[in-house]
């Protein structure tokens, strides 16, 4: 039974309070308030820990973990793909409530912001209570084993690399109505050199899989290639051979495969267009 709601002011205080039995960190509350966790006794509310900010720092944006999806969506200088992922989180009041840190900690497989962060290779600053900076690959591998909210750790900041000249990123998500959970989402990021050779490719698939994954088979195929040498249909076949989709009562595996194919095609066409513009 919940008997305590605490308000630490600093990260040090957060860790003092995490010593309380059956305690949990509270960010926006949208997930926790719906949980019927009879074991929970203490809420450690992060609202007074100064973690709500977006700052441009050198070659990255530092986003405090308590920054809301709405603030990300409305922050002009952030990449459009990330803003769209934040917009996809839900309706306006939900965007005001959901935080980027909460989204990373409470890892539902349909969440929108984390796959985009992974595609963009964001770094995650975690305290446990020692500060650790993890790359996305490290963070997602680590979270796959156990979500952060079950660990005695605090996600404090997310560092999103600023877009470089020859780059393209995109977030696509499929829902049949606006306020339902995503059925399939694809986040992507690319970089290329002045000759048009692709140097970096990230495809992160979520919602239609148990846990977000990178589609490495098509990343490997694209890296080091010129886009004109790539057959889109071949890429789609490779992606579908590489991953195992799961079904839901809303859509079959066959249907999801089709959507994934469409999204890969759109991504490659969007990339082609961007490469033409930046030539």
């Amino acid at each position: 039974m919940l008997t305590n709601h605490l308000y630490p002011n600093t990260i040090e205080e957060v860790f003092e309070y995490l010593g309380e039995p059956n305690s949990k960190l509270l960010a926006g509350g949208t997930g926790l308030s719906l949980e019927k966790n009879l074991k929970l006794e203490t809420l450690i509310d992060l609202q007074n820990v100064k973690l709500s900010y977006i700052k441009a720092e050198g070659d990255y944006f530092a986003i405090g973990a308590m920054t809301s999806a709405h603030e990300i969506y409305k922050y002009d200088a952030l990449p459009d793909s990330l803003k769209y992922a934040a917009y996809s989180v839900g309706d306006t009041p939900i965007m005001h409530a959901v935080t980027i840190g909460g989204n990373l900690a409470k890892f539902y497989n349909w969440v929108d912001i984390p796959p985009m962060l992974w595609a963009m290779d964001a770094s995650i600053v975690i305290y446990n209570p020692k500060e650790t900076v993890m790359s996305s690959d490290e963070f997602f591998a680590y979270s796959r084993k156990n979500n952060v909210s079950a660990r005695r750790e605090l996600i404090a900041e997310i560092r999103v690399p600023k877009s470089v000249k020859n780059s393209f990123s995109e977030y696509q998500t499929f829902m049949t109505t606006e306020n339902e959970k995503a059925q399939l989402s694809l986040a992507s990021y690319f970089e290329w050199d002045d000759k048009g050779e692709i140097g970096k490719t990230h495809f992160v698939l979520s919602a239609a899989v148990g846990f977000p994954i990178r589609i490495t088979a098509i990343e490997d195929k694209l890296n080091g290639s010129l886009l004109n040498d790539i057959e889109i249909d071949e890429l789609i076949t490779m992606a579908l051979d590489d991953i195992k989709l799961v079904s839901s009562y809303k859509s079959t595996i066959e249907f999801r495969k089709h959507i994934l194919g469409v999204y890969i095609k759109r991504t490659i066409n969007g990339l082609k267009e961007k490469m033409e513009v930046t030539k």
Binding site: M1, L2, T3, N4, H5, Y7, L26, G29, T30, L32, S33, L34, L43, D45, Q47, H70, G90, D91, T92, P93, I94, H96, A97, E178, N179
Partner: protein, 155 residues
């Protein structure tokens, strides 16, 4: 736990159960304009403004409004002197059963606080998350547009 909160402009102090949801707390204190439609963050009928931001009170713990400013529909206008949004909703015939209207008007009010001259798209985005089972939204959008115009003229 002790809760200090400003509700509709009035500084209040309560002793509350930390496991209570904000929606249940507000209704138990007589703010019955906060409606319970779905209890899971979908319909928007429980929307209140917390520090001028629209939030769904059914998916918040009561302690999340510690030292904050909460606005419910009871704090917006009076029967004698309704808020322009309330007037325009009536004027446009934008209300049928009325269940969604407190949340709808509060969301519209949050929008007009930050954006006194919204486009139709911005109004749709501002009202997003408030589901109405009776009307087709057209009149509500029009009512917000009219209220915004009136408020700009009055200021």
């Amino acid at each position: 736990m002790e809760l200090n909160v400003t509700i509709n402009g009035e500084d209040r102090e309560f002793f509350v159960d930390p496991g209570m949801l904000l929606l249940d707390f507000l209704r138990s204190e007589g703010y019955l304009g906060v409606k319970n439609g779905c209890s899971e963050g979908t319909c928007g009928s429980c929307t209140v403004l917390v520090d001028d931001k629209p939030l769904k009170s059914c998916i918040m713990f009561v302690g999340q409004v510690q030292n904050k400013k909460v606005l419910t529909i009871e704090g917006l206008g009076t029967p004698e002197k309704p808020h322009p949004l309330q007037d325009e909703f009536v004027e446009e015939g934008a209300v049928q059963c009325g269940f969604c209207i407190p949340g709808m008007i509060l969301s519209a009010n949050a929008l007009l606080i930050t954006n006194p001259d919204p486009t139709e798209e911005e109004i749709k985005e501002g009202l997003d998350g408030n589901l109405c089972r009776c009307t087709g939204y057209v009149k509500q959008i029009k009512a917000v547009k009219n209220a915004a115009k009136r408020m700009r003229e009055e200021n």
